[in-house]
């Protein structure tokens, strides 16, 4: 039992980075980032490249993953999303564009890194014991870094001037413009930050389970599940969704045959959405 809780907490912390990133992009840009899983995957592969191939320290690899994927996100916003949003009259256009960017990243990863599962050895070795549960030091490190980042993001969004402008933009674009905010710049930053979080999450997870070029869609699906549970566009909802999915998954893997867990999660999600379509923390639509 303790082991399941420990596993759940580690998953939840990693998922929270994913959910926070997709929520940032969704609330600021009103774009559902279908490429979020691919950004995660790219972050993992960049860490693999810098650590396993270039032989650089893990910290450098993780920073590279954050910066590179963040820049990819910013470039997507400036060159693709901004233009499509300006010229299109339908919201579906940005969705299709997001799916396109997912394919773009996936194929870029296939060309650059191939289709093999890539991993790097644990950063730290050793195992802690908590009660009856075992906690490998590497997973503890991943958990710790995730927690620190989550707190840092929450502090940034809550207390910094730029973070406040991001929240304002998510709530009322015109009113934000009237406050003299450079909304284009804030949108680019928001997209970049959301993407960087996905990259970091991937860069952390590669030390635990490895990644491959095709993992993106599965991760995106998990991200969508989390924001559906928690409520789209709400930070508290993202965190709640991550905690819920992390623990459900940990319990599922412990008590159910492997492939059954996600089947059960989807069935439960459909039933849940029938009762509460806006998620736990979300506002009812319309």
């Amino acid at each position: 039992m303790e082991q399941i809780l420990v596993n759940g907490a580690i998953l939840a912390a990693n998922y929270a980075l994913i959910a926070l990133g997709i929520t940032l992009i969704f609330s600021i840009m009103n774009v559902l980032n279908f490429a979020h899983g691919q950004m995660f995957m790219f972050g993992g592969l960049i860490v693999y490249w810098t650590v396993a191939q270039l032989g650089l320290p893990y910290a450098v690899g993780l920073a590279m993953a954050a910066v590179a994927v963040g820049l990819i996100g910013m470039a997507f916003e400036v060159f693709f999303f901004r233009r499509v949003m300006r010229d299109s009259t339908r919201e579906e256009n940005t969705m299709l564009l997001a799916v396109g960017t997912a394919l773009l990243l996936e194929n870029a990863a296939l060309s650059l890194f191939g289709e093999k599962q890539r991993g790097i050895p644990p950063i730290v070795t050793g195992v802690y014991r908590i009660g009856d549960a075992f906690l490998p030091a590497n997973r503890a490190l991943v958990f710790g870094i995730s927690l620190v980042l989550i707190v840092a993001i929450l502090l940034f969004v809550t207390y910094s001037k730029t973070g406040r402008a991001m929240r304002a933009l998510a709530q009322d674009r015109t009113a934000t413009l009237l406050m003299g905010v450079d909304t284009a710049r804030i949108s680019t930053l928001g997209f970049g930050l959301g993407a960087a979080l996905a990259g970091i999450a991937g860069g952390l997870l590669i030390t635990v389970s490895g990644v491959n070029a095709g993992i993106g869609t599965a991760i995106s699906t998990k991200a969508f599940i989390m924001i559906m549970i928690g409520g789209a566009g709400v930070v508290s909802g993202a965190l709640l969704g991550a905690v819920a999915l992390g623990f459900i998954e940990a319990f599922g893997y412990a008590y159910l045959p492997g492939s059954l867990t996600y089947l059960m999660i989807f069935v439960a999600l459909i039933l849940f959405l029938l009762i509460r379509p806006q998620g736990i923390m979300g506002k009812p639509w319309g």
Binding site: R164, D172, T174, L178
Partner: protein
């Protein structure tokens, strides 16, 4: 060139090739309260949107403090001293009253000035001080109107544009808001363009007024005289 403090000359704004306003010209001197009144759809809000750059005029010029401003991006106008309070209040609902006010200071770097302005605004609006940590979405309509006016004042404007501040408010609250607009104009030396469907209130607190009729200025004059004008009385003041 323009010699007046504020001047909009021959503004024409079209939506999908249909003109919403045509050849609208307004002008006034520093420190005045000017009203734009008229029926729903007469073009009052469009005129304001043209002034703030939210909708570019197809034709015409806008001058403020001796400089032409009709090509400047809306966000940059804030730094030029023009603040707009949009129709329907538009607070940031999931943000505290304090954060809403601080959003008004977004472009300002003078930390001490921001702190003292925040204090001054909270003294002017004691209700906002009581609700400082509360989310703006939980405020009453009148409190939200005070908040958006306070938020606009945090930008340190010299010209304040108010779009239908009385909309949906109870008569007593409208009176409070009217008094506040006058006080702000008097105490802070801020010029005001007031767009209102509540013509009576607008004519009472303004010195000069323009009456918009289907996209054109049908009538203009000193507000005190317009109140007594038979045409205005019949059409906009309920006889």
């Amino acid at each position: 060139m323009s010699t007046r403090y504020f001047e909009a000359r021959d503004l024409t704004v079209s939506y999908d090739k249909v003109a919403a306003i045509r050849d609208v010209s307004i002008g006034f001197d520093e420190g005045q309260v000017v009203a734009l009144i008229g029926a729903n759809g007469a073009g009052k809000s469009t005129t304001l949107r043209a002034i703030t750059g939210l909708k570019r005029p197809g034709r015409g010029e806008i001058w403020f403090e001796g400089e032409r401003i009709d090509q400047i991006a809306p966000a940059k106008l804030v730094e030029r001293g023009i603040a707009m309070v949009p129709e329907g209040r538009r607070v940031f609902p999931h943000m505290s009253v304090r954060d809403n006010l601080l959003m008004g200071a977004h472009t300002r770097e003078d930390k001490a000035g921001v702190a003292s302005d925040l204090e001054r605004i909270l003294t002017r609006f004691p209700r906002l001080r009581e609700r400082l940590r509360q989310n703006a979405g939980t405020l009453s309509g009148g409190e939200q109107e005070m908040l958006v006016i306070g938020r606009a004042l945090m930008t340190k404007p010299r010209l304040l544009l108010l779009d239908e501040p009385s909309l949906g408010l109870a008569p007593l609250v409208v009176r409070d808001i009217a008094r506040l607009i006058l006080e702000i104009n008097r105490d802070e030396g801020v010029s005001v363009i007031l767009v209102e469907q509540n013509s009576r209130m607008a004519l009472r607190i303004s010195q000069y007024a323009y009456v918009l009729e289907t996209g054109r200025i049908g009538l203009e004059g000193a507000s005190a005289e317009l109140i007594d004008n038979a045409h205005v009385r019949a059409l906009y003041l309920g006889g």
